[in-house]
């Protein structure tokens, strides 16, 4: 039990500290690395409460894919421009009040949810199969997701698909004058059209037309 507590506090302290460091560190790439550390420690916490499937999916989706894309974008930014962020002591930033309002809202939302959980637990008792300890939580998740919540699940998938297509359509532009390599053309080239054997005359050379 003590070992459990030690691990829990280690992971949660790392999670909180790295979450703070995400906003506090001056280098954007460093903040992405702290974000990754945060994701990893959160997924360790998931595994500790027995939600191993969620923990692994967190690792695969957030750390393995999303954060890589973050890092990709952030690495390309011109880091020299952003040395003077508000944390470095600039008072002109207009983002602080907005951020404060949003974070208070989120804080109260969490308080309401946790309060409801504490005082009226029967509201959250949606499906008993989650509490069934005999099946692994991957199985129970699948049993709920693909039966009771199949429509919600499919709709969320559709929304993601629409978002993806939308992003592609928004950023796609047809550029003219770009030389494209058609691999079918490249591999279906015959020797006859690629190579020509010429009799080269002395002091005259060959005229190459292209």
């Amino acid at each position: 039990m003590i070992a459990h507590a030690i691990f829990f506090y280690t992971f949660s302290i790392i999670a909180v500290v790295s979450a703070i460091m995400v906003t506090a560190s001056k280098n954007t790439v460093h903040s992405v690395f702290f974000l990754i550390l945060d994701f990893i420690s959160i997924s360790c916490l998931f595994i500790m409460i027995g939600a191993e499937f969620l923990g692994m999916i967190m690792l695969i989706v957030y750390v393995g894919a999303v954060a890589v894309l973050f890092l990709f974008v952030v690495m390309m930014l011109n880091v020299a421009q952003q040395k003077n962020q508000w944390f470095a002591g600039q008072a002109t930033s207009k983002h602080i009040p907005v951020g404060l309002i949003i974070s208070t809202l989120i804080f109260f939302e969490i308080i309401i949810v946790i309060g409801g959980w504490k005082y009226k637990p029967e509201i959250f008792d949606i499906n008993n199969s989650l509490a069934n300890a005999s099946v692994s939580n991957t199985h129970s998740l699948g049993q709920i997701l693909y039966t009771d919540y199949i429509h919600v699940f499919q709709i969320s998938g559709m929304i993601l698909l629409v978002a993806m297509i939308g992003a592609i359509v928004l950023t796609f532009r047809q550029r003219s004058g770009v030389k494209k390599q058609s691999y079918i053309k490249q591999i279906s080239r015959e020797r006859a059209e690629g190579v020509e054997v010429l009799e080269v005359q002395s002091n005259k050379g060959v005229k190459i037309d292209d």
């Binding site: 690395f33 191993e52 499937f53 695969i60 750390v63 890589v68 890092l71 990709f72 690495m75």
Partner: protein, 332 residues
């Protein structure tokens, strides 16, 4: 006191797994160079020790005594962390590999997801190394490899779904036991081929070694590394290759199961069968390195997104419909 003894027992088990893995990584480097040489009608390393077996050891000694140079304009913490991350990730994945029904360090429920997660984290070592070097070649190499590894991970994930449809469990031992009657390489042969090629791309092996294409990028993300740090990248890379071979052996070649379920074969311990299967896949890896020229970058991306991803997705639909129609779905 009791707690301490448990910890010591676990440490002993971990060492018993890690030391053979590290030794076999050294041996596999030798094997790789040897196979490569034989395909090209050369001798390969054959001077140090019998058949040149100790060549890797000599190389390691050389690396240890070389100076570690840290570029002055690099981001030092991340620069030093990068090879450590690569090597650690390559080694921790071995915790879930089952060497027999009972010989497994951590027999977790979501073993295959763990393997997939750890192999998808492998890209961080490369990105960190490339970015922290603060130099053009490593940066270009890191960007290339990040795009490449993320692309091919997708198709590996879909291939894993194919296997999971036939098994009905994420546990690696269950996956092996489900192949008792027939290895998955037979019904899922196209997936095995795609998995093999994706594994080549995922581990940055030729013909997909664009991140370190020496003709264009010097050595890619490793350009600024020297001495033991370079060797750690190298070890991590080969440990990852071995891991991918182990994953292929478990998913498609029946893991620790003997090929024929009759008397003299079943006497051989499972670990030996697994090692033989890993070796078979690795020799294929080495052969591919020797005989195939390097891909162009746009061909690589096209292959990943336009060929492998649709093919493996179609195969998921096919597998699922087949299993559903013939009522073979593993429902418990």
């Amino acid at each position: 006191m009791e707690y301490l003894s448990i910890v010591f027992h676990e440490v002993y088990k971990i060492l018993f797994l890690l030391v053979p893995v590290l030794v076999s990584v050294a041996m596999i480097v030798w094997l790789d160079r040897r196979v490569w040489a034989f395909v090209q009608k050369r001798q390969g390393p054959n001077v140090v020790g019998p058949f040149g077996l100790l060549q890797s050891l000599a190389d390691a000694l050389k690396y240890i005594f070389k100076e570690i140079i840290i570029p002055s304009s690099s981001n030092k913490v991340i620069f030093i962390l990068a090879p450590i991350v690569t090597m650690t990730l390559a080694l921790i994945a071995w915790a879930v590999i089952p060497f027999s029904a009972t010989q497994v360090l951590a027999d977790i429920n979501v073993g295959i997801l763990y393997l997939f997660a750890v192999s998808s984290l492998g890209v961080y070592g490369i990105i960190m190394g490339g970015w922290a070097s603060n130099s053009k070649y490593p940066f270009l190499g890191a960007i290339r490899s990040a795009a490449q590894m993320v692309s091919y991970e997708v198709s590996i994930g879909v291939i894993i779904i194919n296997v999971l449809l036939c098994v009905g469990s994420l546990n690696l031992n269950d996956i092996v036991i489900a192949q008792q009657n027939m290895w998955f390489v037979i019904p899922l042969f196209p997936m095995f081929v795609i998995f093999f090629i994706s594994a080549l791309a995922e581990t940055n092996r030729p013909p997909f070694d664009l991140p370190e294409a020496e003709a264009e990028l010097v050595a890619g993300y490793q350009t600024e590394y020297s001495g033991m740090m370079y060797a750690m990248f190298w070890l991590g890379e080969y440990a990852n290759i071995l891991l991918m071979c182990a994953m292929g052996a478990i998913l498609f070649l029946g893991g620790w199961m003997s090929p024929i379920d009759v008397y003299p074969f079943t006497l051989v311990p499972g670990a030996i069968w697994l090692i033989l299967k890993i070796l078979l896949l690795f020799i294929l890896f080495a052969l591919v390195k020797a005989i195939v020229p390097r891909y162009r970058y746009d061909q690589l991306m096209r292959l990943g997104w336009k060929v492998f991803l649709p093919l493996s997705l179609i195969w998921v639909v096919l597998t699922a419909s087949y299993l559903f129609y013939f009522n073979l779905l593993p429902v418990n």
